[in-house]
């Protein structure tokens, strides 16, 4: 009875133990980094000799960190808006369109997700050097939107496939214009997909390291570039403080997502 949870006997205990071990492995770095950020040892001794908030003070005292975080937030927000808007239009065409080569075009739009980022990074870096867009906000946003687009299209297209189109048609029969029906009936019904698309494309930009390393200029650094630079010079506990705040942000995003999903279900 290998797929019957209640009748697996010792095998269940072994597998549950293994699952707990893997969950611990997945949780370890996240918990460790948060604990480390409060430890007083500059050399990252663990368990720390004492507890302190000084790494957070150092973090907030350095305007470069805040600057980088704001730059990242700005670029990620613009990327998410663009990717969702473009992805929404594309999803309607991909799911409902009747034209030749639809599957090929779908594959093409998803390719940035599969191609190693380093290849895209040097390609767009060289391209933007020629166009004079290297190290600019607009350059960052364009490059990140290319990378985020698959993460916007997939959840929206999935939601749209699960939406019963006859409801939209019914609204039209009742006198709504096709555009009105889409805006007031279809979009609200697939809002979870749109919301996931926004979160995924925001994260795709917010966490993006490789393109950012190539594109960054001394005057325009995103948060990952700032962390990358610090990591390469030393393993200062200030990075642990910054990282813990990022973990906090991830948790907040997870809670918001869970609450929204619950709200939709009820």
């Amino acid at each position: 009875m290998l797929l019957d949870y209640d009748r697996m006997g010792w095998l269940k205990i072994a597998l549950l133990g293994f699952t707990a071990l893997v969950a611990g492995f997945l949780l370890l770095p996240v918990v460790f980094i948060v604990l480390l950020s409060f430890g007083s040892s500059r050399w990252l001794a663990f368990p720390p000799p004492g507890w302190t908030l000084k790494w957070y003070q150092e973090l907030f005292a350095d305007p470069a960190w805040l600057d980088a975080a704001l730059t990242s937030a700005r670029i990620a927000t613009m990327t998410a808006i663009l990717a969702v808007a473009i992805g929404l239009l594309a999803s309607f065409a991909l799911v409902r369109g009747q034209f030749a080569g639809r599957e090929i075009l779908r594959g093409l739009l998803l390719t940035p997700m599969v191609l190693p980022v380093v290849v895209f990074a040097i390609a767009i870096y060289a391209f933007f050097l020629r166009l004079g867009l290297g190290g600019t906000t607009i350059g960052f946003v364009i490059a990140h939107t290319v990378l985020a687009l698959p993460f916007a299209i997939i959840p929206i297209a999935t939601a749209l496939e699960g939406f019963d189109r006859s409801i939209e048609d019914a609204a039209i029969v009742c006198g709504a214009s096709p555009l009105e029906a889409r805006l007031r009936i279809t979009l609200p019904s697939i809002r979870i997909g749109i919301f996931s698309a926004a979160i995924f494309s925001f994260l795709a930009s917010w966490d993006e390291v490789v393109v950012a390393i190539f594109m960054a200029s001394p005057s325009l650094q995103t948060l990952p570039v700032k962390i990358w630079g610090s990591l390469r010079s030393d393993l200062s506990p200030v990075i642990a403080a910054a990282s813990s705040l990022l973990v906090g942000l991830t948790l907040a995003l997870m809670v918001v997502t869970a609450l929204l999903q619950r709200k939709v279900r009820t």
Partner: protein, 286 residues
């Protein structure tokens, strides 16, 4: 909408068109396809027209070592990830949902946490004087600190960590789709649990394992961040070498030739994966 069309519902279906795709296509063609093709062009034109960059890459022992390292790490990471992910996905597929949602929560937290944060944590954990070495020494398992970082061991640990969610999540879907009745039937017919596993559960989950494994392998081949931070200078991986050729050595010809090789291998494996699962099913991965 004219009055006539309102009278006959079927014609309400506007030939939902191609137009919606235009913004996406313009973006991808202009800022993805064109730059990548321009890069590939450089690999055969710089410093002078010809295939000398490819000849240099494929004929040199140093580069051969990088290719070998890359395939070795990607293979080991894939095998370890599959072996670790399978039992977890199996349990997740049949666990009571309250328990499962805790484990899913941990997986999502790990996956959504900033990539550099996770890698930084492993850099500190795996150091010579790091927690793992100290714990092992305190427990008397080892006398000398193990070299866990700046080598392929560190890269493998860090990469398996990052790849696990990408293997577990799709595999849960595959395992949930298997009808438990098939296993009950096997048991009724006298199959031992091991036989049932080997002849029913494993074959039925194999498409999911193959698709997920291929995805992990492809992602590992081109991975940059983790190898660059957890790996050593003496055993570089391909993505790192490409970045270095461009960034430090400014050798665009050689760098783009190496990028082209990575692209061809990746795309070939991607095509294979599409044939295994189909473009639509792939989407369930995230």
């Amino acid at each position: 909408m004219s009055v006539e069309t309102r009278q006959s519902p079927p014609t309400f279906r506007m030939p939902a068109g191609f137009n919606g795709l235009l913004p996406a296509l313009i973006l991808i063609v202009l800022f993805f396809v064109v730059p990548v093709l321009a890069l590939l062009l450089r690999s055969v034109t710089e410093p002078e027209p010809g295939l000398q960059n490819y000849a240099a890459l494929l004929g040199d022992g140093t580069y051969a070592r990088v290719f070998f390292n890359t395939f070795l790490v990607a293979s080991v990471v894939t095998i370890v990830t599959v072996l670790v992910a399978f039992p977890v996905a199996w349990m997740l597929a049949i666990m009571p949902s309250a328990l499962a949602s805790i484990v899913f929560g941990v997986i999502i937290l790990s996956m959504w946490t900033n990539l550099l944060t996770r890698t930084y944590a492993w850099m500190v954990l795996l150091q010579r004087t790091g927690v793992i070495n100290r714990t092992l020494m305190a427990a008397g398992i080892i006398d000398q600190p193990l070299p866990l970082i700046n080598n392929l061991t560190g890269v493998t640990i860090g990469m398996v960590y990052i790849m696990l969610p990408f293997m577990i999540l799709p595999l849960v879907g595959t395992l949930r789709a298997i009808d438990p009745m098939t296993l009950r039937a096997a048991a009724l017919c006298g199959a031992s649990p091991f036989q049932a596993f080997r002849r029913i559960l494993l074959p039925l989950s194999l498409p999911g394992v193959a698709a997920g494994g291929l995805m992990v392998f492809v992602m590992s081949l081109g991975y940059f961040v983790t190898p660059a931070l957890l790996g050593g200078t003496s055993n570089m991986m391909l993505a790192e070498m490409i970045a270095q050729m461009i960034q430090s050595l400014l050798n665009w010809g050689l760098g783009s030739a190496a990028a082209f090789i990575l692209l061809v291998v990746t795309m070939a494996l991607y095509a294979l994966q599409l044939r295994l699962v189909g473009a639509r099913r792939m989407s369930g991965g995230i």
